[in-house]
Amino acid sequence: MELTSDHRIRLIQSLFICFLLCSFAWGHHAYADTFENKPSPFRIYLDADQTNSVSSGKSIELGIRAALSESNGLLAGHEVELVIKDHHGSTPRSRHHLEQFLADPHALAVFGGLHSPPLIAARDYINNNQVLTFVPWAAATPITRSKTSENWIFRLSIDDSKAGKVIINDTIQHSGFKQPYLLLEDTGWGKANKNTMTKALSDLGYQANGIHFFQWGIGQHEARTILENAVSNGADSFVLVANAPEGITFAKAMLSLDKPRQRSIRSHWGITGGTFFQSLGASAVNQLDLRFIQTRFSLLQEPLSSEGEKAMAAASTVSNSTLSPTDIKAPSGFIHAYDLTRILIAASEQSPIPDDPKQARQIIKTNLENLRKKIPGLVKYYKQPFSSDVETNFDAHEALGLDDFVMARFDRHGNIRLTEQSPSNMGEANHGN
């Protein structure tokens, strides 16, 4: 087609306008990048068991998100991306995630999960690599106790150095058992509990009827044999240190015994991290005399504290649905993670935080150990929950103390009910030494 001179002029005009538009768009983009200077996001890793103790993982995630939502998802002005890692309870997986964390230039902190072993195994690695780590669930004593002055792990959870005592006290003093048999998983966590529990027993003038370390994935038959032997040897109760999978196995094994031979179980809280109630069913669980340790707060307590209401509201917000306390199946994770995140937020707000996450970690750690601000939480009102005197203070990185722990049970619906109400005055709780 032959182009007329008019057409040519119009075509050139059109091309020019297009060029101008493109130039403007590019320039605006460059300008925005240059002058707005939006800080790069911080990434918080949640390295928990999302498979075998899925409830714990989910509730911790919810707790973090709920707390973050209260600061609009920002931490020291940085957007926070929550990176979910599922370690299945496996130490190598957890280590792998830590490696990923260290390779991530945006990574700021790690939240651990239910299992202690990965954290125990990784403790030195964490401290050596200055990984800012928060422990909302894992209870093993060594986790927060570094061998060196470097201690980057902060716990707001049950500490086995105290839990064993609480559980044993409940078994002997509250329930009146005299021949408790210790069923401990054959991990660092189990071994730590052995020490605290036997010590607690001897403090009370008792000794264990027997101690058995069992492996993960133990079969029901083997579990039954252990129980049978223990009962035959006069065990009047069992103290269980296990996670949900093995807890389910032992519960089933117990229920398979003749009724007169069935014994009460006092358990660590590992069993609440998975699908213990769902797997066994209400009737089976109700047949058992089962009590387990929890922190002294329950979302089910009435009336719910204002902080509890706030937390539930935040949880509902991040879940995009209205949640009731019974919807949170492993409430410990939620409660501790929520409180810990609040503490983290407070620490990040105490002084300016550099954009470089690695530098930020250092500042935040220092702030955590020197928090000036009192922080309201679900379990209690935190006043300087952590301290830097790790070499002298055994509980320097423990946010909760002995008084923060109570025994609990499953109700008919699988909700966790504390056997004692939390103290109504939460204002001045101790910082957990």
Binding site: H88, H96, Q215, W216, G217, E222
Partner: protein, 628 residues
Amino acid sequence: MGIKTALSSGLHNLISNRPPKTERLLSLFLITVISLMSLAMLSVMTQGLKSDLTKHYLHSNEQKSINLAHQVDRFLDTRRIQLEAQTHSAVVKQTVMQPDSNKGLISDYFLSQSIIGKQYIQQLYDFKGEKIFTSASIHKQHQSFSLQKRDDAHIREHFNALYERTKNFEINLSEDLNFWQISLPIKYGDSIEGILSTHIPMREMVEALNLNNIIDIKLQATTSNNISAQWGTKNVFANTTLDASPSGIRLSYGIDVSSLNQSFSNAKERLILSAIIIAILSTGLAIIMGRWFFVKPLERLQVFATELSEGADPHLEKNKRITIEVQRLSDKITDMAKKIHLREQDLIKSNKALRHNQNTLVHSEKMAGLGQVTAGVAHEINNPIGFIMNNLTMLQEYHDFLKTLLSQLLSMKEKLSPEEQKSLKPELDAIAHTLTLEDLDFVINDLDCITSESITGTERVKDITQGLKGYAYSGEQTTLTDINECIESTLKMVWSELKYHCTVDKSLAKLPKAECMGGQINQVFMNLFINAAHAMTGSNGQLYIESKHVDDYIQISVSDNGCGIEEEHLKHIFDPFFTTKQVGEGTGLGMSICYDIIKKHGGDIALNSELGVGTTVKIKIPLRQNTV
């Protein structure tokens, strides 16, 4: 040597155009046929054998291969199943979850474990494929093992299929082929947290399954890392792959056919040897049987035929060892020999008869010539006899005249006076003298007699010549003939014969004339009359001749009361040259001629005789001849 001789001899016979001996021919034939058949059979059997042998060989080796492959498969799978149980063990699970805190436990665990009575090097890998434990040190075994050239500390990719759950286990081979590695995922909950990898020494499998002693086949196991272990024969491809095996390794096999070829070659040699032996045996047997069943019977037949040809009456012995065909041939030949013998006898007789006939014919010819001559002579005699008869009649008349004249002359002498007597004395004396020479009366009477007798004799001569003329006349035409006349004339001809032997009685009815050749009918009668006369040797011979007219026939019966004819001779009575007479007395043709003549006339002749009583010959002659 024997075969060669037979062959060369047979060939020589064939070449030399001399008929070969049956036995040699048979041998040659049998050797050729059996050799050809053996070759053909050998060829077919070789093909069949090859096919069968190949089929069998392939089948059995296929089975062997499959069995062996299954054993290999089972070997690995059994261990896999046991190892799988280990992956369910809590210690193992916990170790992959918490490796550092369980080193002691897992060492104890693997020390306590045995897989079918053996302890193996076992290794645990974490979820990343990083080795977290090996039992090599606790077993104090330091065999080198590597799945790949680089360090196997991290072999995640190697276990990818297990981690990604596309496989439930992995069985691999080390590059140096010294180990099998059975790798199984270790699950905790629903996740795969690690791998249990166990090294099974190849040596153990080789010893357990005796894999070093595989022959004829090649077994190949290829693992998913494409490393192949091979056992058995080297020089074949393991190109047949078995269906999916429980152990998950690819098992394939190949069958070495070189040994098949060797065994086929051996089998072929044995077959050829067997075929040769069978051929020799069957040839020998066939020759013996051929000799028994063919040659010997033929030889016997030959001897028999020879004897037969020499005129003997040989006897062919029955032999059990002959075939039904040869038996039939023998029977036929025997039968034929009998017939030949009979025919020969007949021929001898015929020859004798022929010779006799020849004489007779010569004689007949002579006789025929004689007849013609006789007829001619009779004709010639007839004329002089005619005038002799006339002369004799005239002589008789003249005799009477002379007798009368003589008596008148003699009576005149008596009546002469003495003077007269005197005057006529010389004449009288001469007369007297003449009269002394002969008895005048006697002479006169005798002359009369002589004349009469001469006339009678001459008449007889005339009759005879007449008869001869009739008898000898040939080419005779049929004429209306009075049979009774024929009888009469013949009786006349033979009267001289008859009159010494018999009396003749006749009962001749009045007959119509019949169409016949009278001369020939005369001849019939003459023969009959003469035969009758000869039969009647005694003094009371009676010949009875009867003729009568019955319907269209004239029936003549000639009976005598002679000696009769023996019964055995009766059937030959019309045969030519049959005679019971002494040689020279009769030709034996008489009755035969009679028969021929009567038959020629369309009539019939029958003879009825009783020994010592007599013989009756009945003749029927048709009145009319249809064809003559």
